[in-house]
Amino acid sequence: MATVQVSEAEKVYILHGIRDDLRVDGRGCEDYRHMEIETDVVSNTDGSAKVTLGDTAVLVGVKADIGKPRPKVPNEGYVEFFVDCSANATPEFEGRGGEELGTELSNTLYKVFNNKHSVDLKSLCISAGEHCWVLYVDVLLLQCDGNLYDAISVAIKAALFNTKIPRVHISADEEGGKEIELSDDPYDCVRLNVENVPCIVTLCKVGHRHVVDATLQEKACSVASLIISVTHKGTITCTRKVGGGSLDPESIFEMTEAGKRVGKALHAPLMKLLQQEESLGKARQKVGFLG
């Protein structure tokens, strides 16, 4: 992953600052950087969103395709994740450089969504055992400036909110077989319930405290971080320790508590923002990628 070199003196400065709840960019320990969200940015997807968090930028596209349900759960659709670390984000990703990080991120996303409530998979079923919707969630990293997980999860939630799945009509043909018809009307579509989609909070242990939304400099001062994905109810769907160091149990408990608090608080404003943008309809001013 993109890393920066931090000198010893700088480390001490950052550590002391965080000890006093004052970070280099003026934030408190549990504050996020400025976040911008824009949905419906890629026209050839069924749902998309672009999120910038500080200088981290990610783009998420959701594509719905008709597939066959998995044999073990015939009455459910499924979600596939793919994270592409483009060489745009950092030259280190060139060639196969980003592959490892890409699989790490996508494997974590599978874990985050590995429960019954995050996405209602039953609603994705078209006809049991035969057809279902498969949601392909493609994440593209445009720029890395720390805290990829949080930015990605917010972008996924926004993109899923934005996703419009065409309505299907099942009719029986002459031979008794089923025929699937997609609605031609672009407005005749189903929306997903994203209420339970979790957001990821990454807590970085710096010194004896932990910070939310760490910058690359702060990350360089930390030995380990904890990833926690939290729903709006405060249910934790995934936790994971990342980084080369270890954490003592007490700080894990503290971080879980803080992560839950921060994550829970993230959902309401996010949903409000998404609904606001949606309500603007066509009147909304598109910012796009150059804005």
Binding site: P71, T103, E104, S106, N107, K111, V112, N114, N115, K116, H117, V223, A224, L226, T231, G234, T235, I236, T237, C238, T239, R240, K241, V242, G243, G244, G245, S246, L247, D248, P249, I252, F253, T256, E257, K260
Partner: protein, 291 residues
Amino acid sequence: MPDCFPHAVTFPFLCTTMPTDTKRVRGPEVSQSPTLFLCKHVAVLPSHGRRADGRQRDQVDVRPVFVRCGLVSQAKGSAYIEAGNTKLMCCVYGPREMERKDETDMKCGKLTTDMRFAPFSCLERGSWIQGSQDKDLSLMLHESLQPAVCLHKYPRSQIEVNVMVLENSGSVLAHAVTCASLALADAGIEMYDLVLGCSIRQNGASYVVDPSYMEENSCSSVSSENQGGLTVAFLPSLNQISGLQSDGEMNEETLTAGVRTCIEGCYKLYPVIQQALTKAVRRAAPPPSES
């Protein structure tokens, strides 16, 4: 006679079919596990009372483990662990010359981990090619072990940890962590502490420690809240958590309680592991004379 030499490179382009595995003896294109055609369905596991293998529910009742060190003659260190039917083998090679020197600082050694499943290790036959699940487990193993290894003592070199799952009967990651740390210790690699792994499966209000494969994969419909798995890697004498992973849905209290239970499980394992190691040392040589 052809006038130009038909060189190797021209042929792959002629074959436009699916890339087939040319490096193994191939069987039929498709085959299915007989378990898909069972005439009788397998009995559902009990969700209360005693567990299927007679262990206690809601208690730190780990399976008795059998451990041996130094079985593989070619490796620097090796360990075999058997917990119930879960059987794992780990070999450690190195420190040897670093393969890719392009990376970062040479003052520190590098730890590489590789975890894979034997094709016959699971209920359904696995493929030969390492999937993303194996890669994710390798990464988790790496994160759990790295904090314990004194890598600064091995400049310019890499230490390789290879884990092979011979039979998967649940909690493989937890046992892989324990097995790998045993193998590292057997190899004489300097470490700050041993690393022990333990996992639990939460099922509504009750939980099972060191779940079997069936317990891991059965999700009862009794309660939809608080369902999930948790694996912890723990350094017992430093009281540090080096690896943590959970999925499913849990509230904060359940998660914290789960982490505590796992730590307790690790402590139960500790004396067995210590004994296995000291036994291996004693077997290798009598104590040196005190001079």
